[in-house]
């Protein structure tokens, strides 16, 4: 990977090694679900971190800036192929999006059954002798204004949990798709010079980023200028790392991660892809 870069480039930029970037060991201590579940002495090199152990090349991405509307290349970042260059499983992306839409959906439609419709307790006319069809109640299913036979009955939740590994693969496929389609950008930091929304729209237009952009940092406390600028623009949003989800990644045309967010995301997903057993409550 680094071998491919010309000497001229090397002179201008200082590429950062993927292991140092990933900072997996440090990240693991901070990100773990439960610190007690993580052994204090995680020693040794993990094979999934070693670039020489992979058939797929680590993906090289420009490190860009946000402090000017014009794009400036500040360096090169290596992205882990297990997260940013996997098989783009669009069917798993679809499963994730469907799950996100449905798992909190409740259908409140509820129709009345014969017994619930007002009235209809009395037999409308005698059984025999009228020359009319025999009926027991005016609110039976056969009648107009009667009950509904197989209608929706009460609040129906559509909750289900997608298996843990499918949700991880969904995120990984989404990131791979974004990078493959040139919709992923890594920036040094989210600091911008003004809080004017015009600055952000101008930046997005100049760099030919999609109309909708999603800025991602690790924490939910972000630079005030960016927050204020993007607040009034509906299609340009900021999100902390823990809010990353397949729906939002695909909803926004362009994904902009900070350097720290890229490391954090890689660390977290590599942990989930290589853990011995996921905890029972998130299966």
């Amino acid at each position: 990977m680094l071998r491919l870069i010309s000497k001229k480039l090397l002179a201008t930029y200082s590429p950062i090694s993927p292991c140092a970037q990933c900072g997996l060991v440090q990240k693991l201590r901070s990100l773990s679900l439960d610190d007690n579940l993580l052994k204090a002495d995680i020693k040794g090199d993990y094979k999934f971190l070693d670039p020489d152990n992979h058939y797929q090349k680590f993906r090289q991405v420009w490190l860009e800036n946000l402090d000017t509307t014009q794009e400036k290349k500040l360096g090169i970042i290596s992205l882990h192929p297990e997260i940013f260059a996997t098989k783009p499983r669009v069917d798993i992306i679809h499963q994730n999006i469907t799950w996100q839409r449905l798992f909190r959906y409740i259908n409140y439609a509820c129709t009345k059954v014969t017994s619930e419709v007002r009235g209809g307790g009395r037999k409308p006319w005698p059984q025999k002798g009228m020359g009319k069809a025999r009926h027991g109640s005016i609110r039976s299913v056969l009648w107009r204004k009667g009950g509904r036979a197989h209608g929706p009955r009460g609040p129906k939740p559509y909750f289900y949990m997608l298996p843990h590994h499918i949700r991880v693969w969904g995120l990984v496929s989404a990131f791979s798709t974004k990078l493959a389609q040139d919709d992923l950008h890594i920036v040094k930091s989210l600091d911008i010079p003004t809080d004017d929304p015009e600055y952000v729209t101008q930046l997005v237009k100049e760099r030919n980023w999609g109309p909708s952009v999603l800025f991602i940092d690790v924490s939910d406390i972000m630079p005030l200028n960016l927050i204020t600028a993007t607040d009034s623009i509906k299609h340009i949003n900021c999100m902390p790392g823990y809010g990353l989800n397949v729906h939002s990644i695909l909803k926004h045309n362009t994904l902009v991660l900070t350097e720290d967010a890229a490391s954090w995301v890689q660390g977290k997903l590599l942990y989930h892809l290589n853990q011995i057993k996921p905890p029972e409550n998130i299966k």
């Binding site: 007690n36 579940l37 797929q56 260059a85 996997t86 098989k87 783009p88 669009v90 069917d91 992306i93 679809h94 499963q95 999006i97 469907t98 791979s176 798709t177 493959a180 389609q181 040139d182 919709d183 999609g210 729906h247 695909l250 909803k251 045309n253 011995i276 057993k277």
Partner: protein, 296 residues
């Protein structure tokens, strides 16, 4: 856009460069992902909707499974089929082959520099012992005895003679111990046990039918006389035709000799202690009646 020489994953990622942006509008599930609507509709699926003609099938009055339209059903004719009677009450010792143990050692999943017990084996994530299914521990079997090369201090709940021979042949030690179900439950998932603020349980003595097994030196039982065990080690070496290594001369002698008290569940921790994982503290009882119970 040249796709020549690319296959599979690389080809897919290259194709994406040329294809429109993947978005909510152009995603769909794989073929046959969604199950077909069971009730047939339309010209070909309608009319009787696959329910046939008359009978219980069409009238949604299905007969229960096994019903034979009134005559004495087969499944009720025979009142006594005790094939699995009491099966759910019996103790089970799921097998752990020596081959699997060797695999765990080779792939660095288990630490042979420390004594291996049920907790260490289950913590690898590869070996299962489920107390809900009446698993009272693990049974070390001899499949793979010919390839086993590890020097370990292992503690299992049941072991076959060739397995014991294979362990001792390589300079290791093996002990068979009895774990009652609540001890198994604690041993198999200690983190969960501690997070419930439960004290480490005191292991119970073996049941009447297995007391003899655990007192027998030939099974390397934990209640057997250590002198008789060393005699049995020698006898086994002679039986299987290998030279018994002197563990006294082994640099790992201290580790190989480590044994638990019959009432102890974990190495280095006493029963009755409450472990606070969050604050990294251990609470030890000081009351006489508690000390008498846990230590007596």
């Amino acid at each position: 856009m040249s796709f020549s020489g690319l296959h599979g994953r690389e080809l897919a990622l290259k194709m994406l460069q040329a294809l429109p942006r993947v978005s909510h509008a152009n995603l769909k599930p794989n073929p046959n992902f969604k199950p077909k609507n069971k009730r047939g509709r339309g010209q070909h699926g309608g009319d009787k909707h696959g329910a046939g003609n008359k009978g219980s099938g069409q009238r949604q009055n299905h007969m229960r499974l096994g019903y034979e339209t009134g005559n004495w059903p087969f499944y009720l004719r025979f009142g006594f089929e005790p094939y699995y009677k009491g099966h759910h009450l019996k103790r089970q010792y799921p097998p752990l082959t020596l081959h699997k143990l060797q695999m765990l050692i080779d792939t660095n999943r288990i630490d042979t520099s420390k004594p291996i017990d049920l907790t260490a084996l289950v913590n690898t994530g590869v070996v299962d012992c489920i107390p809900e299914r009446k698993h009272y521990g693990l049974n070390l079997t001899d499949a793979g005895a010919n390839v086993f090369k590890g020097k370990v201090n292992i503690e299992v709940q049941w072991a076959s003679e060739p397995a014991i021979a294979a362990i001792e042949r390589n300079g290791g030690t093996i002990t068979t111990t009895y774990y009652d179900l609540s001890s198994v439950q604690c041993a198999v998932d200690p983190v969960r046990w501690f997070s419930r603020a439960e004290p480490i349980p005191r292991r119970k003595l073996p049941l009447a039918d297995c007391l003899e097994y655990y007192s027998n030196p030939e099974n390397r039982g934990y209640l057997a006389d250590p002198e008789k065990i060393s005699q049995a080690r020698l006898a086994l070496a002679q039986k299987y035709g290998y030279e018994l290594p002197r563990i006294e001369d082994d640099p790992d002698y201290e580790m190989l000799i480590q044994r638990k008290d019959p009432r102890q569940l974990f190495y280095g921790l006493e029963p009755g202690w409450v472990v606070n994982l969050k604050d990294k503290l251990i609470f030890k009882p000081k009351e006489d009646y508690l000390l008498e119970y846990y230590r007596g």
